[in-house]
Symmetry: none
Subunit: 232 residues, 4 copies
Amino acid sequence: MHSKVKNRAEDKVKSIVEDKDPELVTKRRMQLVEAAIGQFSRVGYYVATIKDIADAAGVSAGLVYQYIPDKQDLLFLCLQHIVERNKREIPAALEGVKDPLSRLVVAVESYTRVIAANRNAVLLTYRETKSLKPEYVALMKRMELDTNALIAACVEDCVKAGYLIPTHIELLVYRIITNAHAWALKYWRLRPIVTLNQYIELSMHSCWMPLMTPAGQKRYDQIKNTSTKRKS
Amino acid sequence: MHSKVKNRAEDKVKSIVEDKDPELVTKRRMQLVEAAIGQFSRVGYYVATIKDIADAAGVSAGLVYQYIPDKQDLLFLCLQHIVERNKREIPAALEGVKDPLSRLVVAVESYTRVIAANRNAVLLTYRETKSLKPEYVALMKRMELDTNALIAACVEDCVKAGYLIPTHIELLVYRIITNAHAWALKYWRLRPIVTLNQYIELSMHSCWMPLMTPAGQKRYDQIKNTSTKRKS
Amino acid sequence: MHSKVKNRAEDKVKSIVEDKDPELVTKRRMQLVEAAIGQFSRVGYYVATIKDIADAAGVSAGLVYQYIPDKQDLLFLCLQHIVERNKREIPAALEGVKDPLSRLVVAVESYTRVIAANRNAVLLTYRETKSLKPEYVALMKRMELDTNALIAACVEDCVKAGYLIPTHIELLVYRIITNAHAWALKYWRLRPIVTLNQYIELSMHSCWMPLMTPAGQKRYDQIKNTSTKRKS
Amino acid sequence: MHSKVKNRAEDKVKSIVEDKDPELVTKRRMQLVEAAIGQFSRVGYYVATIKDIADAAGVSAGLVYQYIPDKQDLLFLCLQHIVERNKREIPAALEGVKDPLSRLVVAVESYTRVIAANRNAVLLTYRETKSLKPEYVALMKRMELDTNALIAACVEDCVKAGYLIPTHIELLVYRIITNAHAWALKYWRLRPIVTLNQYIELSMHSCWMPLMTPAGQKRYDQIKNTSTKRKS
DNA sequence: AATGAATGAGAATTCATTCAT
DNA sequence: GATGAATGAATTCTCATTCAT
């Protein structure tokens, strides 16, 4: 069911570039998506014109339509790009990390940092997802759930390993996620009162810290010692 | 400085209605703001047309311009209305509640409930605040801080009363606020997994629960007992 | 079946003017249709711009869309207007004419004359009917058949009255119709070689003259005598 | 004067292919003209894109401009091709036919059949000739007159031979021509009520049959007998 | 010769805003 | 005070045409 929606939507995006050089298509799309994220972030979907975006990308307005069916699809490609970039970071950061609690710490931190690094892009997803047509909104939700699942797995492993007390996992994940997003959404106020590192310590980890078992507590102290030593 | 900005913006809003019956002006504005919140929430600021809004309000398109300088200002009036409604609820709920911890519990719950009750309106503030001109954005931020201050005061009193350990108050308040907003922002996923009451218990109160002193813990149990008894 | 198509098409045309003063709507539509017939005739459907048409009608481009859903519909209204004008002429001319053969003569002549008087408009129907969407093409065909039926009735009555020998009526009607249209279609060559009156005598009437019975012949001579006398 | 117009137009068409292999030019032009007739007939001149036509011809869009100066000229080449094809058929059919009345019968029938065989192409000439620039329109008219002259000669010979009574020859030819075209123009209605053979008998020949002398009548019976016998 | 990527001019359409009634 | 007709600026999207490869 889900793959059907996905395919239909992706078919449309693909249809106009059927007989084009795939490498050029990828390059142009990236160029356009990056320019579009910039413009959409700056002034919003409706105020940003295709001409603006084309100018920002250094191409003609007409060229946009050789690679993107219409403005809607460009927005979708932007939001997709943003969400996938956010998601991609987590597995990369977890690479080689074995201990469940370490994995949770790393996942939360890497996710928060990628959100922080793409603050305006994250804002864009909050502001403009509604501007997509329903089939694309469904796709965006699916992608968000995919991301959540990565963190949920870390939490679950911590529970299984006896580091965290059993809890409503998805709800906890949502607290983590929305707190990370809050850094982007309320940056104007948070940045003046804390640094990102403080924010991660005080707000992000405090989501799950209270749920730690004594074993988890002990493990966490080891982790912090190690990471502190490594840093120094 | 802040009041100067405010005055300039409000002057503009007032100028066109100088010679009109103030009661009618208030009535018409409410009518329009409510219709506009409905339309803006449904389809967004740019897609909603003045004609749509006028129709929804049961008046002609021309009339809108007798009471609102332009579409931008209508959006501002809407967002202002939403934020003030959210803020207004807290003092009303705190009325007569004396105990600092009870006040915090009540403040958090009443705020969360008003957010939940005006879910779409809250979404609107997240989506469309950027569409305002800078001077209005500044005003919106100021109003948000005013609301936060109400909760911050409750937290502060709890700390003073020895119920909560000293903490970064404004940061804690932001965690409370953004968790409340998360109910609106992620309703599509949260509602299927928890009820609002569960959400308040599991997510809202868990922001500050871990910060409680033993005295706070004890006080909280009493509060819960009382409220449980009262309900039964 | 036919009326369903008709209604759907007409609904669309009506929908945008639902709450407007019907008199003004009629006036504006006529104004636009007349300007559009002029422009479409002059340069064709695709070359004529809405701006051209609006200018020709003495209104702004935006106004067009208050009365016409889109350019396609404007074309349809034009073609409909032309065909109905052509059709309307026949019953008016037949008013009070009783003799079957006289009716046929009058019908053919009045039809040919209205075609001749609206030469460019008729050309337009030939050139641009294909530009309509299928549902409108179907409507146009239906209207053409309605017109043909008026002449077919005259032929049929002549056969019944014994003035014409039995023949394939609809085919004969089509020869009359297309010969009339030929005056418009080939005006550039016909006008230099014959007058309209000659054309009617030599080409139009020669469609059915050979099919006359002796009684018809006799009747026809009487008619011509009368009309000649009346003229002299 | 006429040849001057012709030359100017044709010069333009020739200029871009000056230094190319003439055989390839002819081949490519045919390829493009045939593809273009297909597309123009199907959707009309303005809706058919150069890309569509190039695709239909199995070449790239860029190649078109190596053989055709612009879209206008392609249309002209198409219409010219159609008219010349129609014209070419008549002399071929008359080959070896000596008797004047037979020649007229053959000319009318062969012309009608070629029109019927290229129905959509004929429609195209009616719809799109106006889209040409004036100098091309003049050329098209000239070619139509050339075709007419072929039939006019047959009629004239019949008159000279005493088979037809003297008449307005060019007007008669126009009735023949436009009746033939009517099969294409009104195919949607004619085909459901008669076959092409019936149409030729009932509509085409009835243009000139009433003008036959007794000698013509007699000759015609012989022709029909022969042709009937030959067929059986 | 052939390709197809890129351009940019142009057209339909929408809608905030004005203003005569 | 209220209306809604009229305006016109602005935007998306298309496609003939060019040109480097």
